[in-house]
């Protein structure tokens, strides 16, 4: 080990070992908070959207979503496609959905002739409740009543965004149903067919696609829309653990599924605005973190500067008895690195040992998503490296400023 490094290490370890616990605690506290600022601020910003992305994946698209082409009413040859899906080894389970635009009407029995009908436009979906639950688990989003069962007839589950009490938004052209509770009868119109159904459950999710829909059992819905050929409108596929959505998408496309349907991974199916927002929030997070990094650097600069100024006499003595300026500088660098590493280490333990699992278990209840804390290991370690480097520089500069002063002036406390 070079001599200056050896002496610097010797001085640094003694200075740290015998420093005031309060001072050491304060500096390490600043480093921990800076680390959290670096990692958690951007992590929550990105996690806010990642929570939305994850929710869309778990509650709507699952890992891979197959939907009808834009110019087709449904996925042609769906039974063959379903057989193909079942044959893929990566597939865990799937749910096939029938989907039609329709209108729901409430309060029609009490309405006067002159009153405007209380209607809401909705996406009506026919599902196999057991398979849907296995893929998306949306029965867990029921907030009133129960989810539909395979044998249900003329029963419907309504998304919360279709009901005024759960979505009291007055947007021009957008209407919701009023006074609809469990057991309320409502009219459902699909094409030319109108049917009276009973509300069995109300579900509410932060995924718009889920909350804007009304759900019926697929066997009844098929007859309602007059489709008896087994062709469905969308299929959500849940893969086995460890399988990648891209490999299944590519396998399906390689078998020519693309000619009859749109095959997308959950990521492909994300709306562009969501992807743009993730990039934007990432940039914002980086900007906020950068400010935090500058503040931390200035804090360390001030702490080391004050420390070096108050120890100027001792720095002078060290130089006087023949200790090189480099060795003294290195001792300050070691001390700065120590503070940064201990602060970052505690920050790491806090982030991965507590915050990430805690926020995953108790997501932050944002209005449009259940926010999680996104802290990818590589980016966290990069930020940790940045913090250690900036602390090192912030510690070195003031130490060097004081060490360069005249030796005797330092010993005698002269300016």
């Amino acid at each position: 080990m070079p001599l200056n490094v050896r002496i610097g290490f010797f001085l640094a370890t003694r200075a740290l070992r015998r420093a005031s616990l309060w001072t050491t605690g304060l500096i390490i506290g600043v480093m921990v908070l800076t680390f959290l600022n670096l990692v958690v601020v951007s992590g929550i910003l990105v996690g806010l959207l990642q929570g939305a992305v994850d929710a869309v994946r778990t509650q709507y698209t699952s890992d891979v979503i197959i939907s009808s082409l834009n110019d087709k009413k449904y996925i042609e040859n769906s039974p063959n496609l379903i057989s193909l899906i079942e044959s893929l080894p990566q597939v865990g389970t799937y749910t096939a959905r029938y989907r039609e635009a329709g209108v729901l009407e409430a309060n029609y029995k009490t309405r006067k002739e002159t009153d405007k009908p209380n209607t809401a436009s909705a996406v009506l979906v026919g599902i196999n409740p057991v398979k849907e639950q296995a893929v998306t688990g949306i029965a867990g989003s029921i907030i009133e009543g129960e989810f539909i069962s395979p044998g249900d007839y003329d029963k419907i589950v309504v998304g919360g965004y279709l009901l005024k009490q759960y979505f009291p938004v007055e947007t021009p052209g957008f209407t919701t149903l009023e006074n609809v509770r469990i057991g309320t009868k409502i009219r459902l119109t699909v094409g030319a067919v109108t049917r009276e159904v009973t509300v069995k459950g109300i579900l509410k999710s932060k995924v718009d696609e889920v909350s804007m829909r009304a759900y019926m059992v697929d066997s009844q819905f098929r007859s309602l829309i007059g489709r008896n050929d087994g062709n469905v409108d969308e299929i959500a596929i849940k893969l086995l653990a460890g399988e990648t959505p891209e490999s299944v998408r590519d396998a399906l496309l390689a078998r020519g599924v693309g000619a009859a349907a749109k095959v997308q991974t959950y990521d492909d199916a994300q709306p562009k605005f969501l992807k743009d927002m993730i990039i934007t929030f990432n940039m914002l997070g980086t900007a906020f973190s950068s400010i935090g990094l500058v503040v931390a650097s200035i804090t360390i600069f001030i702490v080391v500067f004050i420390n070096a100024i108050t120890r100027r006499k001792f720095i002078g003595i060290l130089k006087g008895i023949g200790i090189t300026g480099h060795a003294i500088e290195i001792s300050y660098i070691f001390q700065s690195i120590f503070y940064a590493l201990v602060g970052s280490g505690l920050g790491l333990a806090l982030v991965y040992g507590f915050l990430v699992p805690f926020v995953a278990a108790h997501p932050v209840d944002f209005p449009f998503s259940d926010g999680i804390l996104v802290a990818p290991v590589d980016s966290t370690f990069f930020r940790m490296g940045l913090l250690v480097f900036s602390t090192l520089i912030a510690g070195y500069i003031p130490a060097r400023m004081i060490i360069r002063k005249n030796t005797l002036d330092s010993i005698l406390g002269r300016n």
Binding site: L3, R6, I7, F10, R14, A15, R17, R18, A19, K313, F314, I317, L318, K319, G320, I321, G322, I323, T324, A327, T407, L408, I411
Partner: protein, 225 residues
């Protein structure tokens, strides 16, 4: 051997220049014990700082064992201070976060001694100064006299050619001061060159030569014994 020729040192404060050393010619031989005396402001400490390479003179020459010091770089001066000089200051100048043995071992470590050798040599120096039981005490846990003995141990542990002492007894009571001066006398008997600034006549008498200064000049030199 130290030799100064026409040594001057002035300090500037704005436009005002104060000449503190006014052309000093002086020779200190190997093995001498020299006491420098004078009233406050006479320039004795400033003179000591020039000879000990802690400060740079404004003019004149300082030769140490034939080396012309004004040609030395800061790094060479530092190396000279480390290897050839030892320092004892009025306020002990110990590093508060180092124990007694660490304070003494530090210059030895800087001389690239192994840790074991440096600590053994430091412990030996402290034991000779009567501090064998205080090796692992911090300066704050030692009395003034003990701290000054640690300071002397640090100054002599690496066997310097010259020991510079700037009023080493000024902060001590009589008993501690006498103890420090006994150590200096013992070192001198062993051949150590010592140059000491002091106010106290009683201790100056113990030196082999007393140099008196006034107004930046040497006004007299008295040899004893």
């Amino acid at each position: 051997m130290i030799e100064t020729k026409n040594l001057t040192r002035s300090f500037k404060n704005g436009d005002v220049e104060t000449l503190v050393l006014k052309g000093i010619d002086f020779i200190a031989g190997d093995g001498e014990f020299i006491a420098i005396m004078g009233r406050s402001g006479a320039g004795k400490s400033t003179f000591l700082y020039q000879m000990s390479l802690l400060d740079e003179p404004t003019g004149g020459e300082i030769k140490i064992d034939g080396h012309d010091t004004h040609r030395m770089s800061e790094r060479e001066r530092m190396r000279f201070r480390l290897n050839s000089f030892g320092y004892v200051f009025q306020d002990y100048a110990l590093l508060p976060e180092l124990t007694a043995v660490e304070n003494v071992a530090l210059p030895l470590l800087m001389q690239n001694h192994s840790r074991a050798a440096a600590y053994a040599q430091a412990a030996g120096a402290l034991q000779r100064a009567g501090l064998g039981h205080r090796l692992h005490n911090l300066p704050s846990q030692l009395s003034g006299g003990e701290q000054q003995r640690v300071s002397i141990s640090r100054a002599i542990a690496h066997k310097p050619k010259i020991l510079f002492a700037d009023e080493p007894t000024a902060n001590l009571d009589n008993e501690s001061s006498r103890g420090i001066m006994e150590i200096f006398q013992d070192l001198h008997k062993q051949g150590q060159t010592i140059i000491m600034v002091t106010h106290e006549e009683e201790y100056a008498k113990l030196a082999g030569r007393v140099v008196r200064m006034d107004d930046g000049r040497i006004i007299s030199q008295t040899h004893r014994g």
